[in-house]
Amino acid sequence: MKLDAKMPGGPLEEKWDRHKADLKLVSPANKRKFHVIVVGSGLAGASAAASMAELGYQVSCFCFQDSPRRAHSIAAQGGINAAKNYPNDGDSVWRLFYDTIKGGDFRSREGNTYRLAQVSANIIDQCVAQGVPFAREYGGMLANRSFGGAQVSRTFYARGQTGQQLLIGAYQALERVIGTGAVKMYTRHEMLELVTVDGRARGIVARDLITGQMESFAGDAVVLATGGYGNVFFLSTNAKGCNVTAAYRAFKKGAGFANPCFTQIHPTCIPVSGDYQSKLTLMSESLRNDGRVWVPKAQGDQRAPGDIPDSERDYYLERKYPAFGNLSPRDIASRAAKEACDDGRGVGPGGRGVYLDFASAIARLGEPTIRERYGNLFEMYERITDENPYRRPMRIYPAVHYTMGGLWVDYNLMSNLPGLHVIGEANFSDHGANRLGASALMQGLADGYFILPYTIGNYLGGDKLPAVDTSHPAFREAEERATAQLTRLLAINGTRSVDSFHKELGHIMWEDCGMARDRAGLERALQRIPELRAEFWENVKVPGAAATLNQSLEKAGRVADFLEFGELLCRDALVREESCGGHFRTEYQTPDGEAERNDAEFAHVSVWESAGEGKPAVMHKEPLDFEFVHLATRSYK
């Protein structure tokens, strides 16, 4: 597998501008002749589809929900970063870049990350122009808040619904061009196969989820914006539909999968309440602006939080990381919570929780201010737990939240498969081994609005593509493969439900490949996952038919992919013998329990290549060289 990042030369500040100058252009007249297939209508997909259609390309856009507006991006709460420096607190493109690359524990490309910081400011301008109602000050200026891993206030937000408002903005832009006919939207369609012709991505096969029809779509380029794979853990903050299917099937067609083991555990989620639990709910990181995290000093302290005097509380983040305190990065905050609970000082049912306390903030700012800032989050918490966070500290616990890993892409956001572009959370992106809060929305929109629309022209404007339509045998073959899998799933007619397999897989992943990983656990997982997969293919029960809306069948296909992908994830975690960002190997930690990176051996991207059905995937390395930043040990003390 050839892994050329196509990183432009020159100083960091000039790379993107130089590159834009060198990119091949497609004349307006010719753009009309190119058909781009965009799979996904989240922030990345919707913004890309709309922007490319505005440029004149013919675009087809797909999503599995009933409307593009429902993509999982809608759930993002806290905010979006941008190096606007409106608060005049010393922010700059460089600082955002540095925070991001440091937050990612130096496992991302300098060039990509810098470009992300560069375009961040344009994103805010674009969204405001679309009518995104960001929070404002009384003077009419945009308001900012601070977020984890940063010492400046650069996060823009719209109440606790930032992702919703940004997505609605992109969705409206998308609907506008759907209205003009420039984009053809396919909702309730699930991509099941990537179609390649002479090694190039030339289309997809998707299932119409209502009629069950298998349909082929041919194009000149395919863009995957299909989001993250956090649901491999079953319980995560992701929407129920989030899946790895599109990305994984592209991987099976030869696309490299980068750093699958880089998964993010979010420190502030509502703890699990029972085994019927179907998903975990995030409490936005922004809460850590005003909430103080603590556990009782004494083990197994059963007193109500109110009855525990300050002197007997351990505000462990403030204690361990005085410089960043409650705003330390997610991986660090999550691990600290786990330690406290493992130490028997956890609170709530099962002792799997820590307090997030607003008492002092309410005392300092008054309840109205807190309500103004977090009202809807507090309501959500009360709805779910039946506890009033204005009176009683929230109980929180870490949960799987985001996946930094994803399909490998070069500086042009194109994978190693010519024509296949990957944007948003679906690519391995700019976040290295850990993503800072409010940076995913930024990346999704950067990719979709300001990067892909330029770089895709470089591919389409390149060497002439032979005309291909869906009559090409490659499409037949792909359709047959997809249909065969569904038929097989329906035929097994075993005794266990799809969910029961998914839950068991999730349990394995969480126990052995979750917040803290070690060789023994990973080897155990690598033993159990194949066994579980084997049982799945013998004993799963998928009711109903393929020719109708069949939600069990949809789930079955996704879980089948998770059952293979989970193994890849564990293998990646096993071979990365260092701790960095979200990937914490207990064997590799400093005496005081911090992650111990190994830059000598692991300053690289691990890119996995499928070796075909049943055969173990092969790992390739893209070395990461750091010309402009020096690899410091991350310290938030």
Binding site: R69, R159, A173, R176, P543
Partner: protein, 258 residues
């Protein structure tokens, strides 16, 4: 706790549906309503029956996917709450719970509790946007917006497009949904240039989708999970009258679109 569920089952769009009764015997008050249905579905599977199809995704009350009428109330008994955020503690042991899909001519049933809400997308496509092609924007602070205005716009923009307003409206009207978008954009300076055509085009599309008119029953506001106020409907009416008086015409301005 134990519940008796009376659930609408319909195997396809043009097939007649009917109510079937199920027993949910091990329901915990901490479950969400959808988790309760998950459990029921697992049990149905054991019995070799097809699970109940229902739309859901985020289960956080924000994607607008979940949609069912519980005991005659869209999204169930808890005000300002989507079904996915509704917890079983809102019900009592032994209750009989009737679960139905959204019912409206414009929202045909696809299967069981799943309906087709694409009409909403078409209403947005007709004019529910600000034309701001990527890259054309000025600095975000270039136009200052009074906090009050942007807060009002945000209140309207909070709509999640779930369709409960239509489901609850005795007229099957989409006024609240449409008005929320018209208001959101009309309240912002960036929304002014297209203000008239937006109102005209969106209302025209809304009517073309066969939604009913508004008699101000207020049922929509009562079930709206985001508490969108019917004040917005009045605002939209004003916008339409205003657009009519400006007499710019839709067809004329239509040319400018795209």
């Amino acid at each position: 706790m134990k519940l008796t569920l009376k659930i609408w089952r319909q195997s396809g769009p043009d097939v007649a549906g009917s109510f079937l009764t199920y027993q949910a015997n091990n329901v915990s008050e901490h479950m969400s309503f959808l988790e309760m249905l998950d459990v029921v579905n697992e049990e149905l599977l054991e019995l070799g029956q097809e699970p109940i199809a229902f739309d859901h995704d985020c289960r956080e009350g924000i994607c607008g996917m979940c949609s069912m009428v519980i005991n005659g109330t869209a999204h169930g008994p808890r005000p300002a709450t989507t079904v996915c955020q509704l917890h079983m503690r809102s019900f009592a042991d032994g209750d009989t719970v009737v679960i139905e899909p959204w019912r409206a001519h414009a929202f045909p049933v696809i299967r069981d509790l799943v309906v087709d809400r694409s009409a909403f997308d078409r209403i947005i496509a007709a004019g529910g946007f600000i034309t701001a092609p990527t890259g054309s924007a000025q600095d975000a602070n270039g136009i200052l917006i009074p906090k009050q205005d942007s807060d009002l716009a945000m209140d309207a923009a909070a709509c999640i497009g779930c369709g409960a307003c239509v489901a609850a409206c005795p007229n099957g009207s989409a006024m609240l949904f449409t008005a929320a978008k018209v208001s959101h954009l009309a309240l912002l300076p960036q929304g002014q240039p297209e203000r008239d055509r937006r109102a005209l085009a969106m209302v025209r599309q809304m009517d073309a989708e066969d939604f009913g008119g508004c008699t101000f029953f207020g049922e929509c506001e009562a079930v709206c999970p985001k508490s969108i106020s019917i004040q917005n409907i009045a605002r939209m009416n004003g916008e339409l009258i205003r657009a009519t008086l400006h007499n710019r015409g839709l067809a004329a301005s239509e040319a400018g679109v795209g």
